[in-house]
Symmetry: C2
Subunit: 327 residues, 2 copies
Amino acid sequence: MSKIRIGVVGYGNIGRGVEAAINQNPDTVLTAIFTRREPESIRPQTPGAAVEHVSQAPDYVNKIDVMILCGGSATDLPEQGPQFAALFNTIDSFDTHARIADYHGAVDAAAQAAGKTSIISVGWDPGLFSMMRMLSGVLLPEGKDYTFWGRGVSQGHSDAIRRVAGVKNGIQYTIPIETAVARVRTGETPEFTVREKHLRECFIVAREGADRAQIEIDIKTMPNYFADYDTVVHFISEEELQKNHSRMMHGGFVIRSGNTTEGNKHVIEFSLKLDSNPEFTANVLVAYARAALRMNREGQVGAKTVFDVPLAYLTSQTSLELMKELL
Amino acid sequence: MSKIRIGVVGYGNIGRGVEAAINQNPDTVLTAIFTRREPESIRPQTPGAAVEHVSQAPDYVNKIDVMILCGGSATDLPEQGPQFAALFNTIDSFDTHARIADYHGAVDAAAQAAGKTSIISVGWDPGLFSMMRMLSGVLLPEGKDYTFWGRGVSQGHSDAIRRVAGVKNGIQYTIPIETAVARVRTGETPEFTVREKHLRECFIVAREGADRAQIEIDIKTMPNYFADYDTVVHFISEEELQKNHSRMMHGGFVIRSGNTTEGNKHVIEFSLKLDSNPEFTANVLVAYARAALRMNREGQVGAKTVFDVPLAYLTSQTSLELMKELL
């Protein structure tokens, strides 16, 4: 059987993760990387993979089975999602929750018109965690679920602290509060404030001569990002930051508890502990690329989400193999 | 929208659990219970539900949308599965792993010929745990997974100890060994013997005058069931057994760890903690009943497994609701 020919749009952390994931999946091949940078500036790890300016993508309509869009949700995907869905089967990890229905509509229109299949908002949250919230909600209709994130690096919060006056560099970890997780695990269904669920921990490299006390105040009182949380600020050296805080670790928990009959309680938990958020996310994207191609070949066109994809479509194993080895 | 009309074949622990689950799912209704006992001996909780001898089932072909088969895998389902699949959409929890492919074939032939849809081997293992083994295997192709069961009541092992000479009554708990679970959770991939993964704990009510030392030896040396495990035997009174050991609790863990690139490790864990194994299993069966009907209406006939069902088919929520509320 011929390999699934994959294109990658954007060669940042996720794009490089997709390249690594393709190497772990022998039924896939990286055909080309598309970039807005000078193509010559990129040296892929994969022998034979082309590097092209993103404007050349239409030349690859017959050479690529699935295009994995690795851009950001703020500005890249709202434009690239519909644009690429008009030419290719696509996978993306769009995660701006408030705009997801609009984004779905725009991608769906383009994909339907072109007879292509796009699976949007793939990854672990949105993605795997969404599946677990949905599944556990169906299985325990009289219950309540909780999502905790971390311990992990939040890019948005790290960006926010780096914009504070006097901060040279920094990173922010989101940390689930263990006593809250423990309560939920026992089947309790408390109402938490945001402060009771997550702690925020910042490692800051201050500029020379900066007022550290003021930096700490500016971070801890920052609306939306920190003001509603307990925040811990540590000042460290640039060397320590590079040495101990360069891994993009993340993870979290989806926990739902509920009763069937009175007195009979059940707890469903799904958790991830990830050394590299972008590399794991990339592995999810590649698995769903397999599904997008299969759905397209079956005539299931338009924009889809993880809820629409049978798990069997994520693998190259046959139904009989799945039944014998995994059921 | 009209409710999904459900029939239940067999009114034991699972059948009663299905009845309770239907009460939690307002888009479903229990139409009839089918039994091999005297129908008059059964008093369902549900007003309006009929109770019929199982031989009357064919009369309900136009009155029931999905039949949930609650019989056992040893003798009931091999016969009932194909028989009911020829008349109804069906759900069952067939769990004799070695015979699953044959069972699938027999049900598939009957369902295909009748234009019906049967989802087989639904529950939590096989079922949810199978889904998690499959999903985590696809996401971390270079890794290894472990399934631990318990702490929970094993019916098979409880039946086995009750057959030992001198035993009046008893129950067996399967207990995952915590140090083994902890090692796997850190991302280690050890090779375990069966003894290293699970402990077996028995609570025995001895007959008057029975030789307790001999009972303990007979249990601990029983081939297949206990000989390969560390087993703990407690002797208790019938009163204590009834008071403290009548709950059919169960649960377990599916844990997979693997690397993406060298040095970047990831751990995926799914766990269940269930006060009532049959009631939770029943909730899974009812969710898949919804899917069987929808697949049948779309023309997806024949025998299916949990791998073939998109998660969206388990719920009555629309795609837009799922996207807005759960993605």
